[in-house]
């Protein structure tokens, strides 16, 4: 195992909440906080490659504006002075947004994503754009056209994906917060592999306006952070209805404050939690991962929750359904990259030739594969057998979750079946790569929220995450359980250290 990068890697740095509180009080300057983050990135990122672009000048300007607000007696907001990394499939006005694809290399969007505007409005400071699998298609960040990101905890291994740059940026201690996107597990799986917290909110909780579309019925933006509490801070800041996204949920974003009545993570009496049998005892799940789920369950029982096995019979079918539905939607969404309005254009004398060659030159192998798969699944004669069948299986997944939530308030499951794998290990074996998302996909199909929380280590001392799943709109109970898992695991680890 190679040495961690930088002095802060592997140790919990200052939390975003602590930074924002100090900046709001005037005890710390946002400019100093941001300079420190930029210095950590400059020192450590050449080894990790979490960032595709560091926006140092814009970050300094934004930090100075936060400090000016504090001086003038105005509250800069709940993210005051907090350095934040954002996945490079979120549009940033005037700042290159590549989706880690040659086809968008150099493109400067004429508008910013709603989540970016909300980060700014809350006093957060965007320090750069993070690496991803091209158009968020992948589970290792190896599909980036600009080279892979390495896991800061072991640089011979992948950080997971597709939000691997965002997860690595938090795990390396470069920034306390990052934004990612999750279509089949792309926030939660890299969070698990890097030992950080990652949240996929309920579909519609967070605006997708300005998130470059992959599979529109599955995509959600969400936070990555070192702690559950910090993930809640960022989610509360970016969540809530947006008139620019017609699929956003009109209800205001709920409070995730642990001091709200009925939200205590210390006392879980009356709370019913189920362990998803089909995902926890699935083939290919490493024994240490199963052990982590059971450890999380024990922690919840110690705090008064009742825990039982829960069945979601169709959960295991989700993977096959997903690899028809997501490519089908992607093949349609990615039709827009045709060399006409933005991005790369190949030289050609005639337009059909221009389209075909532009897309051949601009897209990488995985993106081409998924466009092909999706176009086939939607094509005449195959639609019912593939896309239509997958949509019906999607209905079953939703029904089975609904039945499970008749009996329990929240569910536990593995996040990734394995710890971080070696760079190159799965690039030649598509199904092995796709299996990385078997436990995370069902939540996307159902549109439900899910969070990955670090819950110990597995093979090679590498981190293992556990998922807490909740029904649609169930973020408050999900965060309550996630806080309990985090605190209980930390207490158990501390007890182990003092016990000889």
């Amino acid at each position: 195992m190679s040495a961690p990068v930088g002095p802060t890697a592997g140790t919990p740095g200052e939390t975003a909440r602590a930074i924002a509180a100090a900046v709001r009080r005037g005890d710390r300057r946002a400019r100093d906080v941001v300079e420190e983050a930029l210095a950590r990135i400059a020192e450590g990122d050449p080894e990790v490659h979490a960032f595709l672009l560091v926006t140092a000048d814009a970050a300094r300007t934004a930090a100075d504006a936060v400090d000016a607000a504090v001086r003038d007696g105005r509250d800069p907001g709940p993210l005051a002075g907090v350095p934040i990394a954002v996945k490079d499939n979120l549009c940033t006005r005037g700042v290159p947004t590549t989706c880690a694809s040659r086809i968008l290399d150099g493109w400067r969007p004429p508008y910013s994503a709603t989540v970016i505007e909300r980060v700014h409005a809350a006093g957060g400071v965007v320090v750069g754009k993070t690496n991803l699998d091209e158009f968020a298609m992948g589970s290792s960040t190896e599909n980036s056209a600009f080279g892979p990101t390495r896991n800061p905890l072991d640089r011979s291994r992948v950080p997971g994906g597709s939000s691997g740059g965002s997860a690595a940026a938090v795990a390396a201690g470069f920034v306390p917060l990052a934004l990612g996107s999750d279509t089949g597990g792309s926030i939660r799986q890299p969070a698990s592999l890097c030992g950080v917290v990652g949240v996929k909110p309920t579909y519609g909780r967070v605006s997708r306006y300005g998130l470059v579309a992959f599979a529109s019925s599955l995509d959600q933006v969400g936070p990555l952070a070192a702690t559950v509490d910090d993930a809640a801070l960022l989610l509360e800041a970016v969540g809530g209805p947006d008139p620019a996204d017609s699929t956003s949920i009109p209800e205001p974003f709920p409070s995730l404050d642990p001091d709200d009545p009925g939200s205590s993570p210390e006392d879980l009496s009356g709370l019913r939690v189920g362990i998803v049998t089909e995902l926890t005892h699935a083939p290919g799940v490493q024994p240490e991962v199963v052990a982590a789920v059971l450890r999380a369950a024990e922690v919840l029982e110690e705090r008064g929750a009742s825990v039982r096995e829960a069945s979601v019979p169709s959960a295991g079918l989700g993977l096959s359904a997903y690899y028809l539905i997501a490519p089908a939607e992607a093949s349609s969404n990615l039709a827009r990259y045709d060399g006409v309005r933005y991005g790369h254009r190949a030289a050609a004398g005639e337009i059909t030739e221009m389209y075909g060659r532009t897309r051949a030159e601009g897209f990488g192998a995985e993106v081409k594969r998924r466009i092909m798969l999706g176009t086939y699944a939607l094509s005449a004669g195959y639609y019912d057998a593939y896309y239509g069948t997958a949509q019906k299986v999607r209905t079953l997944v939703g029904r089975d979750f609904a039945a499970a939530y008749g009996e329990v308030d929240a569910l536990l499951a593995p996040t990734s079946p394995t710890v971080a794998f070696a760079l190159g290990e799965r690039t030649e074996d598509l199904l092995a790569m796709y299996l990385s998302d078997v436990c995370t996909i069902p939540s996307n199909l159902a549109g439900h929220p899910a969070i990955s929380v670090p819950a110990g280590t597995g093979e090679g001392g590498l981190p293992v995450g556990v998922q807490v799943l909740a029904p649609a709109m169930g973020e408050p109970v999900m965060f309550r359980v996630a806080r309990a898992v985090e605190a209980g695991i930390a207490a158990a680890a501390a007890a182990e250290v003092v016990t000889p």
């Binding site: 508008y111 019925s217 017609s246 079918l317 006409v340 594969r369 092909m372 019906k392 199904l431």
Partner: protein, 103 residues
């Protein structure tokens, strides 16, 4: 059901690539034929599931029509948008010839 169908052929792959406006090399046709067969083979797991009377789900939420007040508001700046285009002329996107030589 899917399990009974002919395996995907190279000709299918070439046809789909044309539909997707994606030029493929011969090597990519070979590779994708093999890889798409593998993934579609996995998808055939679903053919054994009893889906009688199960409606399809296209979207996780009940979709509803969303309207806004019918008042003008500024759109994106035309020049800013065109500045990002590979080619533009007279306030419009410029593209290669659309009709063939004979057209």
């Amino acid at each position: 059901m899917a399990a009974d169908r002919e395996p995907l052929s190279r000709a299918d792959v070439r046809h789909v690539a044309h539909l997707a406006r994606l030029e493929l090399t011969d090597g990519e046709v070979e590779l994708f034929t093999e890889q798409l067969r593998t993934v579609l083979g996995h998808a055939d797991d679903l053919s054994g599931v009893d889906l009688t009377g199960v409606p399809p789900t296209a979207h996780p939420l009940p979709l509803r029509n969303v309207l806004r007040a019918d008042v003008p508001r500024p759109g994106l700046d035309r020049d800013e948008v065109l500045a990002e285009a590979p080619d533009a002329v007279d306030g419009r996107f410029r593209v290669p010839r659309i009709l063939g030589e004979e057209g």
